[in-house]
Structure formats: structure tokens, C-alpha cells
């Protein structure tokens, strides 16, 4: 079944629309990237750039959205054409998700243990209750839950935020997925425990050897955890490549803007440069390059011709950007470091 000639996940020209009272929202408009087995890919971009919608599209669970274009292939199989039953057997088993807010993603009136047991038994009907229980306690211990057997019997509200997210991660890796999707897994947590949960995510990833799609606003997290980074803007991928390459030699003005808006130790606050302007309306995206109203390099060609993703740079790793004038950025040495 497994097609080894292709990456684990291929997202090819994905476009997702929502019909709203104001018109058609083009939430994702031609997104394309791949994930290899075992690698961590960070997806960054401003709020509303289509990160979550892209992630939910992989699972075929975009609420009220419509996929209008493109394909998503997982292990060589087109997820869009799979029968519902097969898709369900992939969800939670081969592709698992870690949600942003574990408090709302867990059923408040069911014990943590039972929720993990059910996640296991959902995909293995022959698993006995006792075996599932043992496995669940094992998983809780694996994610660093002290006194796992006692914790097993508790309800979500009896857990701290960090512990809940640990339980959520235990549940996600329960069935040994080959792809983990984490949509802002630490945003809802206290700053003090964010680092712990990220460390745990790394452990879980190493334990399961699962490829990970890590959606975040935090470029620092990407720099620390991810192998590759995908930068999204207005429903498109504007730049992607190896984390070091993209962060040290960005080839898209939007990525440059993101990096310059980061607070850094070696820079005073008044040197921060938030990207001027705001993301474009997805109801009526600007023609040509969607970034042109905010781009310092914009010129006539940008307003009419849509830049496609193309390979840039001379490094060994593949580095792609969707900017007509990417080469001009190469002339400007970027002082951004990891």
C-alpha cells in the first residue's frame, strides 16, 4: 500500500472556500507543500492565513468548507477520493491531532483514562478493556504524568492545563500515527509550561517517529523544533524550505517582515518593525501577488502577475518562494539568526 517514491503527505494546489453571507471566502488558495516521514514541518503565518483550514483539510473535516481544487495524498492515497469508512480508519490512527485547547477538546464528563481507552478501542475493536487500560496508563506515564494509574481515573477539570495537554498528546500518539498535526499546541497554556509541553512534543515525536505538522505563531518554536518551515500568507504558501535557510536567508518580503517583527535580545524594542498594513480580505483578494499592498519591493508586475512558488538559492536543501523579485533580497544581508 505504501508508496515510497512519494513523501508521506503531499498537499498539491489545495483550495478551500467558505460560502458566507458576505460572499465566498477563499481561505486556502493554492497551498502546496509536502511532509516527509519523521520530519517536523512548522507552518507559520498571520492569523487568518489558512493554517488551520489546511490542517483540517488533511483530515477531510473542514466545517462547512468546500474543497474546490487540489489533492491531498497520504502514503500515495488521495484522501479526497477515499470512502468515508476508510478515511475514518486513517483519522486518529495514522493521522492524529493535538488541539490548541485541551480543556474544550476533551469531554468534561468522561475521565481522562476512559477517553484514552476509547481512542484505542475505536481503532482496535479486538483490544480488551483491561489491555486498553494498561496501555492507556503506559501512555500517560510516557508523557510524563506522575502517578499515571491514579490520574487515569480523573476528570479533565482535575488536571492543570499542562497536564491536560500531556493527556491530549498521549491520546494523539495512542495509535502510533505516522503523522501528527499540532495546531498551536501551546497557545492556550501558561508561558511557564509551554516549554515543557514543547519538549514533550519532541519526545513524543521521537518515540513514535511520526512526522509532525506544527502550526504556530511562534517563530522561535519553529526554529527550535522544526526541520522545515512553511510560510503561509492569504491562503497561499509564500515560502518554504529548511528552517536554517529560510530564517537566515529569507527570500520572501513577508518572511523578512515576520522575522523583523520578532523581539530579540540583541535588539531594542524600538527597533521592532511590525509589518505595516493588515492581511488582505479573503473575500476579494488583490490581483497578482496577495502581499503587494504591504510589500516594500512591490512594483507593477506584482499587481498583475501572480508569483508561483519556485526554487531559489544555491543551497543543497530545496528552498522555494513565491516572489518575483526574490533575488533582490539576496543582496540585502539579513541579520536574522536563530
Amino acid at each position: 500500500m505504501d508508496d515510497n517514491t512519494e513523501p508521506l503527505l503531499v498537499i498539491d494546489d489545495l483550495a478551500v472556500e467558505f460560502r458566507t453571507d458576505e460572499g465566498v471566502v477563499k481561505a486556502v488558495d493554492g497551498a502546496a507543500f509536502t511532509i516527509d516521514r519523521g520530519e517536523i514541518v512548522g507552518v507559520v503565518g498571520e492569523s487568518g492565513s489558512g493554517k488551520s483550514v489546511t490542517a483540517m483539510s488533511i483530515l477531510g473535516l473542514v466545517k462547512s468548507g468546500r474543497r474546490v481544487r487540489g489533492a491531498i495524498r497520504f502514503r500515495g492515497r488521495d484522501l479526497g477520493t477515499l470512502p468515508a469508512k476508510e478515511l475514518r480508519s486513517i483519522r486518529g490512527a495514522e493521522i492524529a491531532m493535538i488541539f490548541q485547547d485541551p480543556m474544550t477538546a476533551l469531554n468534561p464528563v468522561v475521565t481522562i483514562g476512559r477517553q484514552i481507552v476509547e481512542a484505542l478501542r475505536l481503532h482496535d475493536k479486538r483490544l480488551s478493556k483491561a489491555a486498553a487500560r494498561d496501555r492507556a496508563i503506559e501512555l500517560l506515564a510516557l508523557v510524563g504524568m506522575p502517578d499515571a494509574a491514579a490520574r487515569f481515573k480523573q476528570f479533565p477539570h482535575e488536571f492543570s492545563g499542562g497536564m491536560r495537554q500531556r493527556a491530549m498528546i498521549a491520546m494523539a500518539i495512542a495509535n502510533g500515527p505516522s503523522l501528527l498535526i499540532a495546531d498551536e499546541p501551546t497557545t492556550a497554556l501558561d508561558v511557564t509550561i509551554q516549554a515543557q509541553v514543547l519538549d514533550l512534543l519532541k519526545v513524543a515525536q521521537q518515540e513514535t517517529q511520526a512526522a509532525t505538522l506544527l502550526i504556530t505563531h511562534d517563530l522561535g518554536v519553529v526554529a527550535e523544533l522544526a526541520d522545515r518551515v512553511v510560510v503561509m500568507y492569504a491562503g497561499r504558501v509564500v515560502e518554504q524550505g529548511d528552517v536554517t535557510t529560510v530564517f537566515t536567508a529569507p527570500r520572501h518580503p513577508y518572511t523578512v517582515g515576520l522575522l523583523e517583527s520578532l523581539p530579540r535580545l540583541d535588539r531594542d524594542v524600538d527597533e521592532l518593525h511590525p509589518i505595516p498594513g493588515s492581511p488582505p480580505s479573503l473575500l476579494a483578494p488583490p490581483p497578482g501577488c496577495p502581499f503587494h499592498p504591504r510589500c516594500p519591493l512591490a512594483r507593477d508586475r506584482c499587481r498583475t502577475e501572480r508569483p508561483e512558488l519556485r526554487v531559489v538559492g544555491n543551497g543543497t536543501a530545496v528552498h522555494r518562494t513565491a516572489c518575483h523579485f526574490a533575488e533582490e533580497l539576496a543582496a540585502v544581508p539579513t541579520e536574522v539568526t536563530r
Binding site: L59, L61, K63, K85, R88, S89, I90, R91, G92, A93, A96, M97, F99, D101, T104, A105, L106, N107, P108, V109, V110, T111, E118, A119, L122, H123, K153, Q154, F155, H157, E158, M171
Partner: protein
Amino acid sequence: MSDLRPSLDTPDVAAAEEVVAAEATATGVRTQRRSPAAMAVRRFKRNKVAVAGGVFLLIILVLALFAPLIAQQSPTAVDLGQIRRPPSGEHWLGTDASGRDVFARLLYAARVSLLVGVFAALVSVLLGTVIGAVAGLFGGWVDTLLMRTADMVLSFPPIVVIIVLAGLLGPSIPILIIAIAATTWPTPARLVRGVTLTVREREYLHAARVAGASRGWLLRKHIVPAAMGQIVVVGTLLVAQAILAEAVLSFLGLGVQPPQASWGNMLNDAQSLTVIQSMPWLWLPPGLAIAATVLAVNFVGDGLRDAVDPRQSGRS
């Protein structure tokens, strides 16, 4: 009998979920690990009236189950030489118009009345739960169709529907049960649909889908458990209504047929003024049995409602 459907406020899942969290926190570490069900049981036990109702029902149940051991006489043995005799050492509650022992009939009738009550409520709740959950989960035209049907069923006077059904299909216990269930399912259906609509918007339901759950799984593992407390409440109140319905229909000759005894058809004999005035042993025992049992079931039902959702206590 005028309305078989207990009225219920729209279920408030959010409130129930919050209460679970709030109470667990408030009761401190030692009792924290109680499940929502355990907490409901504890609240129920504090309600003296409801507990008394429950004890009374338990006694009735034991009497019904052990009727053959308790009653010294046969409930169906006709003795035309001893018609409408007042209570005596031989016939504790006298005899009826066919000379049958009223006490024995009362005990055996309890079996029939409770059976009809419980089964009719069970069928009604099962039907209503499935219909309500399907309507809520599928939405769209499925929802519209099912809920319009429910409205239609609710707009018929149930007694008329039951009389027509019993008249068409002939009176029997299964027909009685089906007829009562067929006219009462909209109440649990609306309730479960309401819970489904609330739970459907919950992030954890979305998370369950992401984890690979089918609609059937969501139903079994998330929706029915969320609605369970309220389903039990409606179910209990439906038992009371069904016992009453059985009594009325049997009294009218459309329910349980003699010689089998039911509380309703025992009242059959009490249709003349002479009987009512001078032979109270013929109608007082079944009449009291019906009234007390229905009252006890309602007490239990109200107690359960308060136990399941403490925020609704005080409201009727």
C-alpha cells in the same frame, strides 16, 4: 391523562457540565473523583420525598413479584356463590362481581400495570432517543422531517390515538404498550435532539471526529451519555403517565382484558352508583394503588430531575 407528555425545559448541557466541574471543585479533594452519576445519586439521596417514593415503589415491586406467595387465593378463580362479598378472613379485600378474590387480583394486577408502565416508557424513550439523536446529528431535511412528524404526533390528543389503535388492532398488552409509546416518543425525542444540537457544537465532538469516530460512535459515547440523566427523568415521568394510560384504557375496556387483572380493569366493576356507594372494596384498593403508585413515580421523577440538574430545582 389529558396529556401524556411531561413538559421539560430545554436541556442545558453546558449548565450540567459546569455543575459537574463546579461541584467537584467545591467538594474538595476527597470527593473530587466522583463521577457526575455518583454526584447525582448523592443529591437524590438527600431528597426525602423522592427516596420515600422510591421505597414505596420497591415495596409494590416486591409485592407484585411475589404475588403467588403472598396471595392465598387465585386471582382468576370464579366463585359465583360468593359475588361481591365484603372483606373477610378468607377474602381479605372481599370478592368482585364474579366472586374472584380482590386482594389476589390487586397483587397480580400490579404486575400488569407496572409491566405496561415500564415497557411503554422504555419503548418510548428508546424510540425518542434514536429519533432525536438522528435528527440532531444529521440535521437538514432529516431533522425537518422527523421533527415535523413529532409535532404532528404531539398535536393529536393521545387518548384518541390510543383508542383508535386499540380499536383497530384489538386490545392486548403489546398493543397497549405500542400505542402509549407511539404517542409519547416526541418528548424524549425533542429532549435528545436538544442535547445533540448542543453537544454537536462542542469542540470535543469535533475532536472525536478527528480521532476517527463515526456518527454511531459519537451517539453512543458522547451524545447518549450527555443526555442520559435527562432521559432517565423523562423516562420515569413517562412510566407514571403510562400507568395512568393503562388504567384509563383498561377501564374503558380497550386495554388489559379480563380475566387477567389490571388496576384499570378492576375499576371496571365500579361503574354503578350502588357499587361506588356501598362496595368500596371493589374500587378503593385499585384506585388507591393507581394514585399512590403514580404519585410515587412522579416523586422519584422530580427527585431525579433535581439530582441530574441541580440548577433546575425549584422549577416545576
